[in-house]
């Protein structure tokens, strides 16, 4: 038996009532798996931020979560507009969220900074007009 679990979620766009479903499913699974609470917290928050970002900016996409004995890898894959300037997008407070999204209380410009804060490793690959792939890792131990 393989010692890695792969979970796949498809995230639908602009449906805020469902945003967070994938991360809450992952959280509930991890809670049953004998992990330190801190690891669960980091994964839950980082993944929720990523999931919300996909809904706001990228018309949804796909999330893959790999749970292995040493780390949890979260891959957020979208075919959205792409990020023009990754460094700028990583700046706390920078946001391109439209007004209708901000009026819902999102778009504070903390999405990517928070994802980085709560993951042990994060990389972003993005091509304008093609899409973005964010890979986050949370180490176990």
């Amino acid at each position: 038996m393989s010692n890695t679990i792969t979970l796949k979620y498809s995230v639908s766009s602009e449906d805020f009532t469902r945003a967070g479903e994938a991360s809450s499913d992952v959280k509930s699974k991890l809670k049953k798996m004998n992990l330190p609470p801190e690891v669960i917290r980091k994964v839950a928050i980082a993944m929720y931020e990523g999931e919300i970002n996909m809904v706001i900016h990228a018309n949804g996409g796909e999330i893959t979560v790999e749970i292995s004995p040493t780390e949890i890898v979260i891959i957020l894959d979208d075919i959205g507009p792409g990020i023009k300037d990754i460094e700028q997008a990583m700046t706390a407070g920078f946001s391109t969220a439209p007004d209708n999204i901000r009026s819902l209380g999102f778009g504070a410009g903390m999405g990517l900074p928070n994802m980085q804060k709560y993951s042990d490793e994060m990389s972003i690959k993005s091509t304008v007009g093609v899409g973005t792939t964010v890979t986050m890792k949370v180490y176990i131990k």
Partner: protein
């Protein structure tokens, strides 16, 4: 009661093995096995939802009989504020308190008095510990248990205080010893409770070794006894009440928050709503608030399953009673009182874990995912588990089998009969 685990329990003679309770339980603590419901003790948080929903009245709450008063030489009643909300046209709390004395109690100590002290200390504590905000109330024992088994990252946000009833019990005992000179074991401190969770919290506490509450009786048992006695005292009740609006309001959802004297709070009631708030708190979606009040029962303590009145009618009655009260009657002359603090930290109790280590948990989780793909996803409950996923977990834990699923069993039988026909 040395083997006491939970107040909520099953009368298996009455249980018909239907699926109402397994579907309603917020921690998925109930299974139907061999035609009868069974409660998984570690998962149960004594919320009483199954008592509410069972059409056969097979789910019950354990509490002490009124006769328990006979066991003590000097008896002190600790009425919950929700008791006051049960009566029609009540304008004066003293009528209830006098009736309690006629019922056989030597003294009363209102839980609402201690609640006012907790309000004062909570205000101070929240102001002094800004970094640990938001703080979660520890007044509802179901919430404390829920956090301890399911929300490990929120344990540090719990207020460090005992529930008002425990503080009231300690103070009432001290006062009774001073007044009577009797040894502690001759004094009975008896709580009149709106819910089974408080019974469990007194008999098997978390955060303290032993509660000062000696016995717990149910509001619904006391209610019919008090009614005629209240008529006797209605004209000239002795002045016994010593709590104000802040304390008495604790019986309603939002009452404890009112005592925090801040707008920076939320008050959620009803166990499903509470769980949503806790999930959001854990994901740091709610971080600007100072205080989070959570009540497992809809409406707050007035909604407890051991009460008589409709919770929302009771809320209105309690508000009416509060109209005539001063804001508060209890003021501390120190910052904190010793009785208020939990004696030991609340610990994470990972009862839902699938295996004893992470490696085995990975294997267990993959097996669960395989099983879930095999099951129809109807969550019909026919297997005795509330959802297909919980059946998969039960199988991995070794307490159920695949053929408990009637869909899987049906396919299996079809396959077998095909094989036989082909022979």
């Amino acid at each position: 009661m040395t083997d006491f685990e939970h107040s909520v329990h099953l009368n298996s003679d009455l249980c018909k093995g239907c699926i109402n309770c397994i579907k309603r339980c917020p921690t998925q603590a109930i299974r139907v096995r061999n035609g009868k419901a069974t409660i998984i003790s570690e998962f149960c948080i004594d919320c009483g939802e199954c008592i509410r929903v069972c059409p056969h009245h097979a789910k019950l709450a354990t509490y002490d009989p009124i006769d328990v008063l006979k066991n003590y030489e000097y008896k002190v009643a600790l009425p919950a504020p929700s008791l006051y909300a049960q009566f029609n046209n009540l304008d004066d709390i003293n009528i209830v308190l006098n009736a309690l004395k006629l019922m056989g109690f030597d003294d009363v100590y209102e839980v609402s008095s201690a609640a006012e002290m907790v309000s004062e200390m909570s205000r101070r504590y929240v102001a002094d510990n800004k970094k640990k905000r938001p703080f979660i109330s520890t007044a509802c024992p179901t919430i404390v248990r829920l956090v301890s088994i399911r929300f490990p990252n929120l344990i540090e946000h719990l207020l460090p205080f005992n529930a008002p009833v425990d503080i009231a019990a300690s103070l009432a005992r001290k006062k009774a010893i001073e007044n009577t000179g009797l040894p502690s074991d001759k004094i009975g401190v008896i709580f009149i409770s709106p819910c089974p969770a408080k019974v469990t919290a007194c008999k098997k506490p978390i955060g303290i070794d032993k509660s000062d509450v000696d016995a717990v009786i149910a509001i619904k048992e006391v209610y019919p006894v008090l009614l005629p006695l209240m008529k006797q005292v209605v004209d000239m009740p002795e002045e016994l009440s010593s709590s104000g609006r802040i304390g008495v309001s604790w019986g309603n959802s939002g009452g404890e928050s009112g005592g925090m004297l801040t707008d920076s709070y939320l008050a959620a009631d009803g166990i499903e709503n509470v769980i949503r708030v806790l999930e959001d708190l854990e994901d740091e979606k709610i971080n600007r608030l100072e205080f989070i009040e959570l009540n497992a029962c809809s409406g707050g303590c007035v909604g407890g399953v051991l009460t008589v009145e409709n919770p929302y009618v009771a809320q209105a009655k309690l508000k009416h009673l509060c109209k005539y009260l001063p804001v508060a009657c209890n003021h501390l002359n120190t910052d904190y009182i010793d009785e208020a603090f939990l004696q030991k930290p609340i610990e994470y109790n990972p009862v839902f874990k699938l295996a004893d280590n992470f490696m085995d948990s990975i294997a267990a989780m993959s097996r669960i995912n395989e099983l879930c793909d095999k099951f129809p996803g109807l969550d019909c409950g026919s297997c005795g588990a509330p959802t297909c996923k919980s059946l998969a977990e039960d199988i991995v834990r070794g307490v159920a089998s695949e053929h408990d699923c009637i869909e899987v069993l049906r396919k299996y039988i079809k396959q077998k009969s095909k094989e036989l026909n082909n022979k």
